[in-house]
């Protein structure tokens, strides 16, 4: 790689960082993200009513399930709708024109948007995971059961990774879509299909059609792999590779598509 190439790579990476920081600033000012986070917070906190049901040690399991469920759905909503909002916000608000009329590679801008979105998701998942951990730590002591701290941290990471895939996939849709509504809707549909992969192999009943549907669905990321309850020891590296692989895949495809898009 020549010095010119090194300089180009360095400036492209710098541009990614600058765009990512700006995107993160935009994300933390997006009201729907705060609303979603607050809703998740209420859900996690409201799970404390379970103590009235006297399930014993299983109550901790229910608390964690509800907590992870709240984090999961909150993160997915922010990932899909937030990514669409951040992308089209720049496009419609002319910021994309200001940036891309400068010597900034389109790929750098796009990857910077994604990096900013993933950073915002990390903040959301991280803070809600800490809250879930704090709530369950107190309850575990009261119930006299072991507090699964490591599992909680790991689950927060898994849920972030799932949301990251959804964000990257939505970004890919954005490069073709003309409105944030279409991109957001397609992103949510992507999430639903990703969770229904176990059903796909059993449907439809027509064998030939099942083959076609199965082939398409098998290429779809299996989002159920990131369910905290499905964790199997020793699979961390493979799961991280699978998740980050799909993030990179959608990001790369989005960069290719965006390079040809009229702004």
């Amino acid at each position: 790689m020549s010095r010119q190439d090194n300089l180009s790579l360095a400036s492209a990476l710098r541009a990614i960082g600058l765009v990512a920081r700006m995107t993160l600033s935009q994300a933390v000012r997006w009201r729907l993200a705060w609303f979603t986070g607050a809703a998740a917070l209420l859900l996690i906190g409201g799970a404390c009513w379970l103590r009235d049901l006297h399930f014993g040690g299983a109550e901790l399991r229910f608390l964690l399930d509800l907590g992870f469920g709240a984090i999961g759905i909150g993160a997915l909503l922010v990932a899909v709708l937030g990514t669409a909002h951040l992308f089209f916000g720049d496009l419609d608000g002319r910021m994309a024109a200001f940036v891309l009329a400068r010597p900034v590679p389109r790929t750098s801008w796009l990857l910077g948007k994604l990096a900013g979105a993933l950073g915002a998701l990390a903040f959301l998942c991280g803070s809600l995971t800490v809250l879930t951990g704090a709530l369950t730590a107190g309850r575990a002591e009261a119930l006299g059961v072991a507090w699964p701290g490591l599992e909680i941290v790991r689950s927060g990471g898994l849920l972030w990774l799932k949301a990251a895939i959804a964000s990257a996939a939505t970004l890919f849709v954005c490069t073709y879509a003309r409105t944030p509504l279409l991109a957001g809707g397609a992103g949510l549909l992507f999430v639903v299909i990703g969770h229904l992969r176990p059903v796909a192999s059993a449907w439809p009943s027509e064998a030939s059609l099942r083959g076609v549907v199965g082939a398409v669905v098998r290429l779809w990321p299996d989002l159920t792999r990131f369910d905290p309850l499905d964790w199997m020891p020793g699979t961390g590296a493979a799961l991280a590779g699978y998740g980050l692989g799909y993030v990179a895949l959608f990001a790369g495809a989005a960069a290719l598509a965006f390079s040809r898009r009229d702004l």
């Binding site: 049901l53 299983a58 399991r61 229910f62 399930d65 509800l66 992870f68 469920g69 999961g72 759905i73 997915l76 799932k162 890919f172 490069t175 999430v191 639903v192 969770h195 229904l196 992969r197 176990p198 059903v199 796909a200 192999s201 059993a202 098998r218 290429l219 779809w220 990321p221 299996d222 989002l223 159920t224 792999r225 369910d227 905290p228 309850l229 499905d230 199997m232 699979t235 493979a238 799961l239 590779g241 699978y242 692989g245 799909y246 895949l249 959608f250 790369g252 495809a253 989005a254 290719l256 598509a257 040809r260």
Partner: protein, 235 residues
């Protein structure tokens, strides 16, 4: 008619398909296609959409809570349907499987049972339910010791089959997470089934794994039992 293909426009899709095909080689957990059929009876309750949104675990919890409410009403059909649906959503969660099996085996046969029915009818009814419960606890890859212990208990208490129960307790005792009593029960049940020599040899192999300092393990007592078996059975 000329067909024009926008090759650069197809590039992103080609990248996606090829890359996704490569990523399928990454091993993942076994798919759970079959169990989704059990959700049919709870269609309309929001369980399936909840599962589709990644809310499988909370949906299972809610189904379990509803099953408990149905249990309090002594509604056998609703209790079993909702509990089985919770198991279908979360088959790896031992809590749901074991407790659903217990409900089916021990609670449901008593509800609606005519108190004037002959003893044989009651016995057959209970045995039928125990078999259904055992189907629910049927062997799956990665079954924990708790599930094996529960199968053993149901086999012994519900069906009166000491030999099969002994084998199940033995399989459970060989797991690292097994309770100590599983091994003790295995030995006694197999002796009762006429397999004393086999039970003694297994005890001899199992004994070194019992920690000396743990009163729950009752190692000294098991050592005494081994000596007793040696005396009774001979070499």
């Amino acid at each position: 008619m000329r067909l024009s293909v926008n090759l650069p426009g197809l590039a992103p899709w080609a990248v996606l398909v090829l890359g996704a095909a490569l990523l399928q080689s990454v091993p993942g957990p076994p798919e759970r296609a079959g169990e989704w059929r059990l959700l049919g009876p709870v269609a309309g309750t929001g369980a399936l959409p909840a599962a589709a949104g990644g809310w499988r675990a909370p949906a299972a919890d809610v189904l379990w809570l509803r099953a408990n409410l149905a249990w309090e009403r002594r509604d056998a059909v609703a209790t079993e349907t909702l509990a089985r649906a919770a198991v279908a959503l979360e088959p790896e969660v031992d809590y749901f499987r074991i407790n659903t099996a217990r409900i089916i085996a021990f609670d449901l046969p008593e509800w609606g049972l005519d108190p004037t029915a002959p003893a044989e009818v009651a016995r057959r009814r209970r045995a039928q339910h125990v078999r259904r419960a055992l189907e629910l606890l049927a062997s799956r890859p990665g079954d924990s010791a708790a599930v094996l212990v529960e199968r053993a208990r149901l086999t012994h208490q519900g069906l009166g089959d000491s030999e099969a129960a002994g084998e199940l307790f033995r399989a459970a005792a060989e797991r690292p997470d097994a309770p100590y009593f599983a091994g003790r029960l295995s030995v006694e049940l197999l002796i009762r089934a006429g397999r004393a020599r086999e039970a003694r040899e297994w005890l001899r192999a199992w004994l070194p794994r019992l920690p000396a300092g743990d009163p729950e393990a009752q190692r000294a007592r098991m050592e005494a039992r081994l000596r007793e078996l040696d005396r009774l059975i001979g070499p």
